[in-house]
């Protein structure tokens, strides 16, 4: 299946993805998905389009109070579908995708630790990658984070 077909299928299936799917080059498809529709699109991509493997999840702070979470899905190692979703910095929340891809667990914990994005439905477990005594409310990958001010004793 080539990239154009994938784009066509996504755009046909979800009208709101019109012009949001972008083929950067061979094997790289980027798609911006509205927050409310993300779960449907993700489930469709995994279950119906055969993007079975999750390579990684990238979280980033775009500035201006917007977080972006990018899910790098791949199909038999050949085509990468990067589904991205924008979150509001005031209330960053996504649902877990561990039910589709068990390997998402560690990437979602990374989102929680480094950007402070709440992942709904994630099973309890160790945090990653910060230490257990890392102070509350400190999220290093946010652009406004400038290090921890030590307690003066």
């Amino acid at each position: 299946m080539n990239e154009e077909k994938i784009r066509q299928e996504l755009e046909d299936k979800f009208s709101y993805l019109k012009d949001a799917v972008n083929i950067k080059r061979k094997g790289r498809i980027f798609a911006h998905v509205p927050l409310g529709e993300f779960n449907t699109v993700f489930a469709y991509a995994v279950e119906k389009m055969g993007f079975l493997a999750l390579s990684a999840i990238t979280g980033l702070d775009r500035g201006d109070g917007v977080f972006e979470v990018i899910y790098h899905l791949n199909k038999e190692g050949r085509v990468l579908l990067n589904l991205s979703v924008m979150l509001n910095k005031g209330n960053p929340e996504v649902n877990t995708v561990t039910s589709y891809c068990p390997s998402a667990d560690i990437y979602e914990r990374e989102l929680m630790d480094l950007l402070g994005i709440k992942v709904n439905g994630l099973a309890p477990g160790h945090r990653y990658p910060l230490t257990d005594d890392w102070p509350q409310g400190e999220y290093p990958l946010r652009k406004d984070w400038k290090g921890i001010i030590p307690n003066k004793k």
């Binding site: 999750l54 990684a56 990238t58 190692g77 068990p102 560690i106 160790h126 990658p129 910060l130 030590p150």
Partner: protein, 412 residues
């Protein structure tokens, strides 16, 4: 899940089986493992955050130092991403040199792994021999790039050093030596009974599980998943080279050993092809200092599996976001599956079989406040004085000894 009746033993953060700090908790009933869990993050150094505050050139050397073994993998993956954003056309010769170093790195990494695997199952002789032979590649890398690890051959837009015809001959000679040795190790792996006894049927990861848990690299290929970025999504010069993806259906540690040995043989082939086919020409396309805005996902087949970098630029000298997904992070999640119902004695080799590199896995964030640094770190001198004082109280005077030692060092 860990149950209260079982003996729980911590493997790590400091443990002889692990070459890097990472913590596994293992529940035992007798010698059998009933449950296991892993806590990652001990090697967290803040590289991703630090990259945002460095220029692309500076960041490159930092990225290279994510991991000592697969340093070329990370740096190539990163420069590929940056070049793609900047729209730089890398000269063909540079691509071939990158490929050559990549394959040499794969050789040294797989030989290193073979030695470590030998050590984990108490076969130190294998360790000594494979590491002795690994020196051949290390010397070659030092001669070609200027260092044994952290080669620093990549730069944005190409490579920093050319290879001469004399070096080409040296490469071919080294390949012959190594091929000879690797054939011996393949023989050994297929014939040494104690080795087979310890590896076969250990750490099973079925084809389905490997798919479900998104295993990558040799771990996946040993479970019959023929997936290799070099073939699936060719980068550098791989599209023009002829090689096959090694995969077996053993699904166990033995299979992973065979895959790595097979890949070694392929690597020798690839290196020879590179030397034969390398075109003449420039090795560097001059990069702009400011990289235009854009985002790119770059992939690379590191010795341990697929390495993935996501780079977003914002039109300045510094990247906006660099995300590194090292192969170990993808593979580590299958370890619990592999340890199911195995013996404690299999634990080291099962963990080693994914060729874990925890420093690749954990990156990011450091406390940057200078004030806190002063408070938290004790200067070496303070520790030394404290130690001398302590021994003096017990009746040993180290100061005179120390003077002698200092003099000795100064003479040397």
């Amino acid at each position: 899940m860990h149950e209260s009746g079982d003996v729980k033993i911590p493997i790590g953060p400091q443990h002889p089986a692990l070459k890097e700090p990472e913590s596994f908790l293992i529940s035992l009933r007798g010698e059998k493992i009933t449950a296991s869990s892993v806590r990652l993050g001990y090697n967290h150094r803040g590289i991703e955050k630090a990259c945002e505050e460095r220029t692309y050139t500076q960041g490159l050397y930092l990225i290279e130092r994510i991991c000592g073994i697969c340093s070329h993998s990370h740096s190539t993956c990163f420069v590929q991403a940056v070049e793609e954003i900047a729209g730089l056309e890398v000269p063909a010769r540079a691509k071939y040199i990158r490929t050559l170093i990549a394959e040499l790195e794969r050789m040294h990494s797989h030989l290193l792994w073979l030695g470590v695997a030998g050590h984990e199952i108490g076969f130190d002789t294998l360790l000594m021999y494979t590491w002795r032979d690994r020196e051949v590649v290390m010397d070659l890398l030092a001669a070609l790039t200027g260092n044994r690890v952290n080669y620093g051959i990549n730069t944005i837009g190409g490579v920093r050093r050319d290879i001469s015809s004399k070096q080409k001959e040296e490469i071919l000679r080294a390949m012959d030596i190594l091929e000879d040795r690797t054939k011996y190790y393949i023989d050994l792996a297929k014939g040494e009974a104690t080795l087979i006894k310890r590896l076969q049927g250990v750490g099973i990861l079925s084809h389905e599980d490997a798919k479900k848990l998104d295993a990558v690299g040799p771990t996946a290929r040993a479970s019959g998943i023929e997936r290799d970025v070099r073939k699936d999504d060719p980068y550098a010069a791989y599209a023009e080279l002829d090689f096959k993806v090694v995969s077996v259906n053993n699904c166990d540690v033995y299979g992973r050993t065979l895959v790595r040995l097979g890949e070694l043989m392929e690597s020798f082939n690839l290196a020879r092809q590179v030397v034969r086919k390398i075109p003449e020409g420039p090795i560097l396309a001059k990069p702009p200092r400011k990289i235009p805005a854009g985002e790119v996902v770059s992939r690379y087949e590191a010795p341990r599996g697929e390495d993935l970098h996501y780079v977003r630029s914002n039109g300045t000298e510094k990247p906006d976001r660099v995300k590194v997904r090292a192969p170990t992070l993808a593979n580590i999640q299958s370890v619990s599956k592999m340890l199911e119902d195995r013996y404690l004695a299999d634990m080291p080799i099962v963990i080693a079989a994914i060729d874990p590199c925890f420093s690749c896995t954990d990156r990011l964030v450091a406390l940057r406040d200078a004030e806190s640094e002063k408070k938290n770190t004790v200067a070496w001198e303070t520790v030394r004085l404290k130690g001398i004082e302590w021994h003096k109280n017990r009746g040993t005077d180290f100061t005179s000894l120390n003077k002698k030692l200092t003099r000795l060092f100064q003479h040397a």
